[in-house]
C-alpha cells in the first residue's frame, strides 16, 4: 500500500504550515503568507484598511482634517447651512458640525476600541475556559455570566462611574471600563458554545493524543476554528460601544464636561431632526462607516485565514 499524497505533500496546505514548502524551489508557503497573498489582492481588505487608517488618523491628528475649533459655538448660527470650512453646516448650539465630527472621532473610536478589547479579552478567556474545561469550571463561569446579566447596566454604570472617577478627569476610562466590564457576556457565551462544538472535533482529539498542552490545544487548535462567530460579535460590539457611550453620557455617568463624541452629537441632534438633519446624519455616517470598516476588515481577515475557502 502506498500513498502518493504523503510523498508529494501537497494535501491541505493550511493544515500544517511548516511542511508546506518541503522540497520545493519556490518560496515556502505558510498560513500567514498565504493569507497575506490573498489579502493583498482583495480590494475589500484595502478599502477597509484605508477607512480604518483614516479614522485612526482623525482620532490622532484631528488638526490635519480641519482648522476650525469644534468648541467655538454661537447661537446666532443655530442650524445654519454649510458655509466656508463648515461643510456640514452648524448644529443646535451653532457649532461647526464638520469640526465636531472630526474631533469626535478620538473619544468615540478610542472608547469603542478599548472597551471592545477589554470585553473581548474577558469574553475570550472566560468563554474559552468554560467551554474547554467544562465541568465545575464551566458551571462556575456560566453562573457568573448569569449574575452579570442580572445586574442592570445602568446601575453598574452609575456605581462604576462614581467609584472610578473624581470630578476632575474627563470620565474616559470609567466609560471604557464600564462598557468593557458589562459587555463581555455575549462574547463569552458565544465563545463557550463554539469551543464546546470545536473541542469535540477529531483533530482536537488527535492533537491531544500527540501530547499538546492545554494552552496549545486551546489557542492553536480550538481557537482558530471557534473564532468566527466571536469575531462577528466583537466587530458589532465595537459599534454598539460607541453608541452606548452616548447613552451613558446622557444619563450623567459618561464623559464629562465639554467632551466631544459622535454618540453625544447624535443624541443631541436627534430631537431636532425635523429642523436640521445634518447634525444627526453626519456623525451617524462616520460612526456607521467606522463600524463598516471594522466589519469588512474582520470578514476579509477571517476569510483569508479560513483554509476551507481556498
Amino acid at each position: 500500500m502506498s500513498n502518493v499524497e504523503s510523498v508529494t505533500q501537497a494535501e491541505a496546505p493550511a493544515a500544517d504550515p511548516a511542511a508546506a514548502g518541503a522540497g520545493g524551489s519556490e518560496k515556502p508557503r505558510s498560513l500567514a503568507g498565504d493569507a497575506w497573498n490573498d489579502l493583498k489582492r482583495n480590494w475589500i481588505f484595502w478599502a477597509a484598511s484605508v477607512l480604518v487608517v483614516l479614522v485612526v488618523m482623525m482620532a490622532a491628528f484631528p488638526g490635519l482634517f480641519t482648522s476650525a475649533d469644534p468648541e467655538y459655538c454661537s447661537l446666532s448660527r443655530q442650524h445654519a447651512g454649510p458655509s466656508g470650512g463648515a461643510i456640514f453646516g452648524y448644529n443646535f448650539q451653532g457649532c461647526d458640525v464638520y469640526a465636531r465630527t472630526i474631533y469626535g472621532a478620538r473619544n468615540s473610536v478610542l472608547i469603542g476600541l478599548f472597551a471592545t478589547i477589554i470585553s473581548g479579552a474577558i469574553g475570550l478567556i472566560i468563554g474559552m475556559a468554560a467551554g474547554y474545561f467544562g465541568g465545575w469550571v464551566d458551571a462556575l463561569l456560566a453562573r457568573g455570566i448569569d449574575i452579570v446579566l442580572g445586574i442592570p447596566t445602568l446601575l453598574a454604570a452609575i456605581v462604576l462611574a462614581r467609584r472610578l472617577s473624581d470630578s476632575e478627569d474627563s470620565g474616559f476610562w470609567p466609560v471604557v471600563i464600564t462598557l468593557g466590564v458589562l459587555t463581555w457576556t455575549t462574547g463569552a457565551r458565544i465563545m463557550r458554545s463554539s469551543v464546546i462544538s470545536a473541542k469535540s472535533q477529531d483533530y482536537v482529539a488527535a492533537a491531544r493524543m500527540l501530547g499538546a498542552g492545554h494552552a496549545r490545544l486551546m489557542f492553536r487548535h480550538i481557537l482558530p476554528n471557534a473564532a468566527a462567530p466571536f469575531v462577528v460579535v466583537l466587530t458589532l460590539l465595537l459599534g454598539a460601544n460607541i453608541a452606548t457611550e452616548a447613552t451613558l453620557t446622557f444619563l450623567g455617568v459618561g464623559l464629562r464636561g465639554n467632551a466631544i463624541s459622535w454618540g453625544i452629537d447624535i443624541s443631541t441632534a436627534a430631537p431636532y431632526v425635523r429642523e436640521a438633519a445634518a447634525p444627526l446624519v453626519w456623525p451617524s455616517v462616520f460612526l456607521a462607516a467606522t463600524v463598516l470598516a471594522f466589519i469588512m476588515l474582520g470578514d476579509a481577515i477571517r476569510d483569508a485565514f479560513d483554509p476551507r475557502l481556498r
Binding site: 459655538c73 447661537l75 457649532c95 453620557t249 446622557f250 444619563l251 450623567g252 464629562r256 464636561g257 429642523e275
Partner: protein
C-alpha cells in the same frame, strides 16, 4: 330602574375597555356620552394632601379638593371654601367655613376635618413632605423633636409628647382658629396651598392615623370625585361630583393619563390620543406651533431659573466677578434660540407671578454688555475656568452649554458644564464643598408672595439656599415684611430686601418660566395657572 342596572353596568364596562384601549373617539351611537378630558401627568408620589409637594399629585388633588382660598389674576387671595378669614393682629387667624360643602362620601365638611388633617400633617413621625408649611403654627416644635442620631449611630427618635398642634382650636362646627408663632400678614395666601386641604372622617383608621389605602382613592370636597382607584403608572380617573355647591365644571370628568416621559405625552397629543399636555418639552417647541396651530398656547407661571454661587468657592467671592459673569450672559439669545420663546429673560430675583415684582430690579448686572463684562472680569481677576454644575435629568444641558459658549466668547475663559445624574447628587457635592462652580437652581412658588422666593432662596438657612448666602440685613427686612400689618406694606419692605440682592448678586437670575401647553380639538378654554395646573372649571367641550 332595577332592570336596567346590569345593562348600564355593561355599557360602562365597555366604555372603560374602550378607554383603556386608547379609543377616545367613535361613540356616536351613545347619545349623551360623558365628556371626559384626558390630561397628561407624571406618576404622583402621593395623593395625601399634606404629603403632596410635587406638581403631579397637586394637579390631581386640585380636582378632588377645594382650597380655602384661591388667587385672582393679580395674585390676591379669593375665598373659596372659606366664608371668611380674619385676623386682627396677623397672629391669631379665625377661619369660618362656607356651609353646604360635603365630602364625596356625603360627610359634611367641618372645622374638625381641617384640624385633624393639619395635626396629622404636622406630626413629625408621620413624615409628611409638606409638614414644614405648618411650622409657623404654634406647637409645631413639640410635634417634631430632634433626632438624637449622632456619633453613636442611629437611635430611636423620641416620640413627641403630643400629636395635636396647640395653635389649632375649634370654635364651632364651621369655625376654627389658627395661632401663629409670630405675626404673618401673608398667612391667608399660604393656606391656598395643597397641603391645607381637609380630610374626611372616613380617612382615619384611628385618631391621627390615616387609613393605609386612603391615598389609593382619596375622598375630597372638590368639584370632582375619584372614579375607581389610583391605577399606578397608568391612570387616575375623576368624575363630576353632583353635590358640589360651588362653581360647577362644564365637563363630566377628567382622565389623568400617567406618563413617564413628557415627549411621550406630546406624541400622544400629536396623534390625537391625549387632550391636554401642560408642559410641551423644548425638543418639540420648534414644531409645536405648526403641529398645533392655535391650540399651542403659553401662559405665565411662577418658575424662576437661576444659577447660584456657592459661598465656599473663593474664586467667586468678589461681587464684581459675579456681576461680570451675569453681564456676559445673553439671556435673550438663549430664551429665543434654546427655549424658542417659551421662557423669558429674568432680570429680577422674584417671579412676575407675585405681587411686588419689579422688572429689572437687578439693574445693570442683568443687562447684557459683553465689553463691560470682560473689562470688569479681568479687573477683578476672575477665575480662568468657570464651571456650571447641573442635573442631567431635567433637560438642562442645552442651555448650560449655550451659556458656557457665551461665557467663553465674551469673557475669554474656559467654561465647562458638568452634568450630575440627579439634583440630589449635585446637593451632595455642594454639601461636601467640592468645586462645583455655579450651581443650577430652579424654584416654583408654593403661595404667591414675594416672601416665598426671598425666604427659602436667599434667607440665612433658607430651605433652598444651598449656596449659603447670608446677609443679616436682608434677613431682617424679610422678617419685618412678614410681620407688616398689610400686604402692601409688606411688599414695600420686601422690595428693599430685593435691592440688597441686586447689590450682593448671590445668584444670577436667568429666566422666568412659562406654561407652554397644547390641547386637542375636542376641548376649548384650556388655561394653565401659575402653579402649572389646568384650570378645570373653565374647560369646555369644543362643540
Amino acid at each position: 330602574m332595577r332592570g336596567h342596572f346590569p345593562l348600564k353596568m355593561a355599557v360602562g364596562a365597555t366604555a372603560i375597555m374602550l378607554l383603556a384601549a386608547g379609543c377616545s373617539g367613535g361613540g356616536d351611537d351613545a347619545g349623551d356620552e360623558a365628556f371626559v378630558v384626558s390630561i397628561g401627568i407624571g406618576e404622583p408620589q402621593h395623593l395625601i394632601p399634606s404629603n403632596t409637594t410635587e406638581s403631579n399629585g397637586a394637579e390631581v388633588l386640585a380636582a378632588l379638593y377645594t382650597p380655602l382660598v384661591d388667587f385672582d389674576a393679580n395674585n390676591n387671595p379669593v375665598l373659596v371654601a372659606a366664608e371668611s378669614i380674619e385676623s386682627p393682629d396677623n397672629k391669631v387667624w379665625t377661619i369660618k367655613l362656607k356651609d353646604g360643602y360635603t365630602f364625596h362620601n356625603g360627610e359634611k365638611v367641618t372645622a374638625d376635618n381641617y384640624i385633624n388633617a393639619w395635626n396629622h400633617a404636622a406630626y413629625g413621625p408621620n413624615g409628611m413632605g409638606g409638614s414644614y408649611f405648618f411650622a409657623r403654627i404654634q406647637g409645631y416644635d413639640e410635634l417634631n423633636p430632634k433626632d438624637p442620631d449622632g456619633e453613636d449611630g442611629p437611635q430611636k427618635p423620641p416620640t413627641p409628647p403630643t400629636n395635636k398642634l396647640s395653635g389649632l382650636a375649634k370654635v364651632d362646627d364651621l369655625t376654627f382658629t389658627v395661632t401663629l408663632k409670630e405675626p404673618f400678614s401673608g398667612w391667608r395666601s399660604v393656606m391656598g396651598y395643597t397641603v391645607f386641604y381637609p380630610l374626611p372622617n372616613a380617612a382615619w383608621a384611628s385618631d391621627g392615623v390615616l387609613k393605609e389605602d386612603f391615598e389609593q382613592a382619596p375622598i375630597g370636597n372638590g368639584p370632582f370625585k375619584i372614579k375607581g382607584k389610583w391605577e399606578h403608572d397608568s391612570k387616575i380617573e375623576v368624575e363630576k361630583y353632583d353635590a358640589y355647591p360651588g362653581e360647577k365644571p362644564k365637563i363630566d370628568g377628567v382622565l389623568y393619563k400617567i406618563y413617564q416621559d413628557q415627549q411621550a405625552q406630546y406624541a400622544d397629543l400629536s396623534s390625537g390620543a391625549l387632550d391636554i399636555v401642560t408642559q410641551i418639552p423644548i425638543e418639540n417647541l420648534a414644531s409645536a406651533p405648526t403641529d398645533l396651530g392655535d391650540r399651542f398656547k403659553t401662559s405665565p407661571n411662577s418658575v424662576f431659573q437661576f444659577v447660584g454661587f456657592p459661598t465656599f468657592l473663593e474664586q467667586y467671592s468678589k461681587v464684581e466677578v459675579r456681576k461680570a459673569i451675569s453681564m456676559a450672559i445673553n439671556r435673550k439669545e438663549i430664551t429665543d434660540s434654546i427655549f424658542r420663546g417659551s421662557q423669558t429673560p429674568a432680570t429680577s430675583f422674584v417671579s412676575p407671578a407675585v405681587a411686588g415684582y419689579r422688572e429689572n430690579s437687578c439693574g445693570e448686572a442683568c443687562t447684557y454688555d459683553p465689553a463691560k463684562a470682560k473689562a470688569m472680569y479681568e479687573a477683578a481677576g476672575g477665575p480662568k475656568q468657570i464651571k456650571i454644575t447641573y442635573n442631567v435629568d431635567g433637560g438642562h444641558k442645552a442651555w448650560v452649554d449655550a451659556t458656557c459658549n457665551q461665557l467663553k466668547t465674551n469673557l475669554g475663559v474656559d467654561c465647562v458644564g458638568v452634568g450630575e445624574p440627579k439634583f440630589a447628587d449635585l446637593l451632595t457635592k455642594v454639601e461636601k464643598k467640592e468645586d462645583v462652580g455655579l450651581i443650577r437652581m430652579g424654584w416654583l412658588m408654593d403661595y404667591p408672595l414675594m416672601e416665598n422666593y426671598l425666604g427659602p432662596l436667599y434667607g440665612t438657612g433658607g430651605s433652598s439656599n444651598y449656596y449659603g448666602y447670608s446677609n443679616p440685613e436682608f434677613d431682617n427686612l424679610v422678617k419685618q415684611g412678614s410681620a407688616a400689618k398689610t400686604p402692601e406694606e409688606a411688599i414695600k419692605i420686601w422690595q428693599q430686601a430685593e435691592d440688597i440682592l441686586a447689590r450682593d448678586m448671590p445668584v444670577i437670575p436667568l429666566r422666568h418660566g412659562q406654561n407652554v401647553f397644547g390641547h386637542s380639538e375636542r376641548v376649548k378654554n384650556v388655561e394653565v395657572d401659575k402653579y402649572t395646573k389646568v384650570e378645570l372649571l373653565k374647560l369646555e367641550p369644543a362643540s
